[in-house]
């Protein structure tokens, strides 16, 4: 009985450690826990969750580009090795529905990551932050956080990311069309 109690104690302690460290563990794996934002759904007028994990990810290039195009090849190379792409997107009828605290729960998970870009509009109402999890010179996880007063988008890419190819794809889709005249780099 005493032995069982000891095991139980050890098990509880282990569980507690895992629970406490889970955000860190996830973040070190490149995967960000976004559950803390779930409460925003009740306030949002539009909500989109996308979770594309390997192996579905591997057929995405074919789905998006169809045949053997150059873009399909580039995208195939981009997603090779990726473990998943996760998106949360919320749109609100009015501003102030999400707070800095909400964003901080996400930022806390990437504290040890490198912030590779931070763009803030002059009035500070629009921000884009890009964080990368580095393994030597390689990126093994990416978080893009884009916030506007009435819109919040988070994109989490898990796995080795070829930034050059990502930019190429981003350019293809027009993801880089930021209004740079209105923004300044931090």
């Amino acid at each position: 009985m005493i032995r069982t109690a000891k095991y139980l104690k050890k098990f509880s302690a282990l569980t507690a450690i895992i629970a406490l460290c889970s955000p860190m563990v996830c973040a070190q794996d490149g995967r960000i826990r976004l559950e803390s934002l779930a409460h925003l759904e009740a306030k949002a007028s539009e909500t989109v969750d996308v979770n594309v994990e390997s192996p579905l990810l591997q057929i995405i290039p074919k789905l998006v580009f169809g045949g053997q195009s150059v873009e399909e090849k580039t995208m195939r190379e981009l997603v090779t090795g990726l473990k998943g792409v996760f998106v949360r997107h919320y749109e609100f009828e009015k501003s102030g529905e999400f707070t800095e605290t909400d964003l901080d729960t996400v930022r806390a998970q990437v504290r040890s990551w490198s912030k590779i870009a931070g763009i803030r509009s002059k009035r500070g109402s629009e921000t884009v932050e890009v964080y990368a999890l580095m393994d030597g010179s390689k990126i093994t996880g990416l978080l893009i956080l884009a916030a506007e007063p009435r819109q919040l988008t988070l994109v989490n890419i898990v796995g080795p990311v070829d930034l050059e190819k990502l930019i190429e794809m981003a350019r293809h889709f027009g993801w880089l069309e930021l209004e740079l005249d209105k923004t300044k780099k931090e």
């Binding site: 007028s45 539009e46 996308v50 579905l56 789905l63 998006v64 169809g66 981003a170 027009g174 993801w175």
Partner: protein, 544 residues
Amino acid sequence: MSERKTVPRILILATVIILAQPPAFADDFDMIVKNIESHYRAKKRRIPFLGLAGFFVKIIRPAGVKSFKLAVFDEQDFRPGQRDFEFERAVKNSINSKKWKPMTRAISRSTGNRAYVYTHQSGKDMEMLTVTFSNRQAIVVQAKINPDSMARFMEKPEILGFSLAGSLKGSPSIFDPNQSLFNAGSSVSGSTGDSLATLRDENSPRIDTDSKSKPVLKVRSTEDDSDLNPVHGEERSTAKPNEEAIRLEARLVNLNVKAIDSSGDALKNLSKSDFRVFEEGVEQDIFYFEPVSAPINLVLLLDLSGSTRDKRGVMIEAAKKFIDSLSPQDKIAVAGFTRSYVVAVDFTSDKKLLKKAVDKMKKIQGGTAYYDAMWATLDLLERVKDSRQAIVVLTDGVDNSILESSYEPSDRSFDELLARVMESDATIYPIYLNPEETRLKQALADPELSDARRERVKRKLEPNLIAHRQVEQLAEETAGTVFMAEDESDLDGVYQKVAAELRLIYTLAYAPKNVDRDGKYRKLSVEVKRDRARVKARRGYYAK
């Protein structure tokens, strides 16, 4: 305490827990269907020969679909609310999470549309389990698809009776690069050539007024199982072999319909079964129905030509009140035109944004390319998948083409515009504001007017009368109504009448029994099964 006693206790407890589980479902598809039935108190529509269709799909594998299951719940209340959370929770708790991975979940409270997509890799095949809700309909589809063919499916999702690319009307698609969630905005280039350019909504598409687009009958696929109904089997026979051995697609004709009783009062509580639609005298099966309360997609098009500049202040205020009086779920775009055309705000329910755009129109002026502006507005509506479409256009209708040849005319002729309008789903509500016509008519009524002067007045009146007739024609052909505003002070009241009129429109759709695309004009008539009821609907369409 001995471990001998503990083990049986744990086993008993485990057995009790297992027995206490909710009843098992045949599979996850069945579980979702049952949950829709219980949470929304909905009844599944019986789809004739669905089992047979499934059998053929297994054998023929159209578009790489190896098997499918389909459940349709229509004309029931699926408006978003607390039930969604309960439904989601129930599904989340019951679904085989080892098998199904949630891929997409998209919820739009403004339109009421919701979509849930689960995927599962089954060897080389991909299984998809999709649940889509609109305010009045729910569809559950489970399909096993070959990934190579899935690419084709993504390009043409209607083959499975639902649309990922457009399931959330107006929402971006995760697979459509042009409407990607990540797309920073449609590229807008060029200038309209006058101060109108300053109004352009940077996120709105550039409408090419020289567009050569030829509208075709819209493919409405999300709502029905007509594609599986053998009544229309002859449509499938036209499909290409292999790719579409069974054509799971139906071309639907959309109709916006207004029904009134003998005293002229609108009939607002009709259901699908109250309507009968005839094409060339042959009764058609109505597959799709939306009640008068359903949201509408509306373009408010304002004539900003020089002739309206003096009245602009009142015009703007009246237009803003009109926007306020529309339903919160309606999607509205605001466009203006002179010789050029600009979309000031693309489709949105954000009334503040819309009114701000209208406000900016105060000082604009230029020529009048009315036909081209209407053409561009039809282009704008082409992007809207929902067939509940309307154009409210405030104009004097006098296109430069009608005036002296020295004025730069529209690129499109009125006849071209009329032909296109007849093929469009949009209902047109012109607000005809032409004080000059009234003034000239009054002048002609003066018995003391000299002959020479009378001739001059007549010449001046002529283009106004042509414009008036044309405005009426556009409304008539689309089952719309012309609203007359004697002068700008009438606008407030007129706009309120338009807003009320928009709430009287039912939307019906049917798959023509005559499947020939012979380009010929087909006469349409709609009846309501009520004594002495009268119906206003478009008169026909070209079967292209």
